[in-house]
């Protein structure tokens, strides 16, 4: 059953990609937990519990750990991102504003001004060294019915 659903999803995606210009690329990595580019950290992004409206400012949670899972305290972050399909950056300059508990940080000032594929890039500077990680998020309109 799961396999069949996956296949039908792939077909539907292909249909959309030929139909519209705004379609999200196939095989986009939408995982929100991954190793940083050089493998120094394991980073997890947690979206807000209630999905925000377009253009509504909101916060995410960043969980930072070493490659083997130990929480990393006292890290500094730079946040960047934007829409590769439209050639513009984030409408705001989000910041990691505080470390709520060991290795759990609050990312404030996030805003998506339109639907589609957004990149969220973190430059991490922590005790284990500097590394980067890029996440992909796809923002959609709510279903009309």
């Amino acid at each position: 059953m799961l396999k069949r659903m996956t296949i039908s999803v792939a077909l539907a995606t292909a249909a959309l990609m030929t139909a519209g210009c705004m379609a999200t690329p196939k095989n986009l990595d939408l995982s929100l937990a991954k190793k940083s580019a050089s493998g120094v950290y394991y980073v997890e992004l947690l979206p807000p519990v209630q999905a925000p409206a377009i253009n509504q400012m909101h916060s995410w949670t960043v969980k930072l750990a070493t490659a083997d899972g130990a929480p990393v305290q006292g890290a500094k972050f730079l946040v960047d991102g934007g829409m590769p399909q439209h050639g513009h950056g984030l409408p705001t300059q989000p910041r990691v504003t505080r470390e709520r508990e060991a290795g759990t940080y609050t990312l404030d000032g996030m805003k998506f001004s339109m639907t589609g594929w957004w990149e969220m890039k973190l430059s991490i500077d922590g005790p284990q060294g500097a590394d980067k990680v890029t996440f992909n998020a796809v923002v959609n309109n709510p279903s009309a019915r």
């Binding site: 659903m5 939408l30 399909q85 000032g109």
Partner: protein, 423 residues
């Protein structure tokens, strides 16, 4: 913006499932749309905008006394250097609260196209370059702009406190004691005006600024009640969402073809999204500058002005707490893409307000659409539009035929609705 967006993190699948199932529940509709298109059309309905969001920086915006004073100030030509210019001179209540001119015409001639008042209460940033972050702060700018009202705050504050004292106090309480004031003084004017301003005690300057800020807050309270009304597009969108076949007749076949192009090959909805048909953001789309030797730098300069503005959300005359000034706290000041970028205007009532773009460069919607079909190189900064023939990994070129342009131009007329304003 009460409607919540849906996230698709686990799989791209979330929005692609049952793509063609949208109209299954009802009688056959005249125009078929995919579920994703219906969701986009639904998100563009005016009613999705909901109540105008509160402006925490203006504690008086919902006060009737402030709105009444604001309306009087909006129409008072004494608030100008030559006694002939009011806000209403360029923002005419008889039309679209703009002037139909390429450049605003006040005491002098401005450099940009006048923007309409409707929709301002929903915008986080005002003016084409977003150099203001509230409607009340925006209203103060033209009063001291030498090309617009051409006046100064000390003269205006004295006028308000002599001609509108009772109305002012009804809205804002007792006016500060200002003592003896020079006839003209401001930190922004001529050498003499700036010298006169600098000579005032700090407490007096603060009192003048307070009354001046309240003038803006009163005007914003009036402007808050000026809004877009529903258009034929909104009727069509509602009918399409509800599965009402007859309701879809509110758009012609040509307009529906234009809507299809708007959502797909024209890529218009990318930036002209949501109920006000704007993403409230700033983009460089390569619109040709009026003076190629001295191109307008747009948002990148607007950012600098916004940050140093004493009347911004974090300033001493704002009623907001610092944490309520999210747009300023998280302002993106480090984006090279802001060079030559301008605010995405609403497309509501767009057919009723030629000419177009930040300096009225295009006389007609056809010319605007032709610009996007051509997607020229930007004269300053970099256009976000992929150029024809350009190989870009992610972006796709806008390709519009002559017929597409006609259909889109026809469709854009369907965004025209009434202007709702106080009687």
């Amino acid at each position: 913006m009460k409607t919540r967006v849906i996230w698709a993190f686990a799989a791209v699948a979330a929005f692609t499932a049952s793509v063609f199932a949208a109209q299954e529940l009802s009688a056959p509709l005249r125009d078929k749309w995919t579920a994703e298109e219906v969701a986009t059309i639904a998100s563009m309905r005016l009613k999705v905008a909901g109540e105008r969001p509160a402006d925490f920086s203006n504690a008086y915006e919902q006060k009737a006394e402030a709105a009444a004073l604001g309306r009087a100030l909006f129409n008072d030509t004494r608030l100008s250097k030559n006694g002939q210019v009011s806000c209403a001179s360029c923002h005419s209540a008889a039309g679209q609260f703009e002037d139909g001119r390429q450049f605003g015409q006040g005491v002098g001639t401005g450099k940009r196209r006048t923007m309409p008042v409707m929709g301002a209460a929903h915008a986080p940033f005002l003016f084409w370059d977003g150099r203001k972050d509230s409607a009340w702060s925006q209203a103060l700018g033209p009063l001291e702009d030498p090309a617009e009202h051409g006046g100064n705050r000390v003269a205006f504050v004295q006028l308000v406190l002599s001609h509108y004292k009772a109305q002012y106090q009804a809205a804002f309480g007792p006016a500060p004691a200002l003592g003896q004031l020079p006839e003209n003084a401001t930190p922004n004017g001529s050498d003499a005006e700036r010298a006169a301003w600098a000579a005032l005690p700090a407490k007096t300057r603060d009192g003048v600024n307070r009354v001046f800020a309240n003038m803006g807050k009163a005007i914003a309270a009036y402007e808050r009640n000026i809004a877009y009304g529903a258009s034929r597009f909104d009727q069509y969108a509602e009918a399409t969402v509800r599965g009402d076949a007859r309701g879809q007749e509110s758009l012609t076949h040509q307009e529906v073809r234009g809507l299809r192009a708007f959502l797909n090959k024209g890529q218009c909805v990318t930036c002209h999204n949501g109920p006000l048909l704007t993403d409230h953001a700033f983009h460089n789309t390569g619109v040709p500058p009026v003076d190629p030797k001295n191109p307008d730098r747009g948002r990148i300069d607007g950012l600098k002005q916004l940050l140093k503005d004493e009347f911004n959300c974090l300033g001493p005359y704002s009623d907001a707490k610092p944490e309520q000034c999210g747009e300023l706290q998280f302002l993106n000041t480090n984006d090279a893409g802001q060079l030559g970028a301008f605010r995405t205007p609403s497309l509501r009532n767009v057919a009723a307000r030629a000419p177009y773009m930040h300096a009225g460069q295009f006389a007609s919607l056809d010319q605007v659409l032709q610009h996007y079909a051509t997607s020229p190189k930007a004269a300053i900064g970099h256009s976000e539009l992929a150029r024809p023939g350009e190989k870009h990994a992610e972006r796709q070129t806008i390709r519009l035929s002559a017929t597409d342009i006609q259909d889109l131009a026809a469709f854009l007329h369907a965004f025209t609705g009434p202007v709702v304003q106080p009687k």
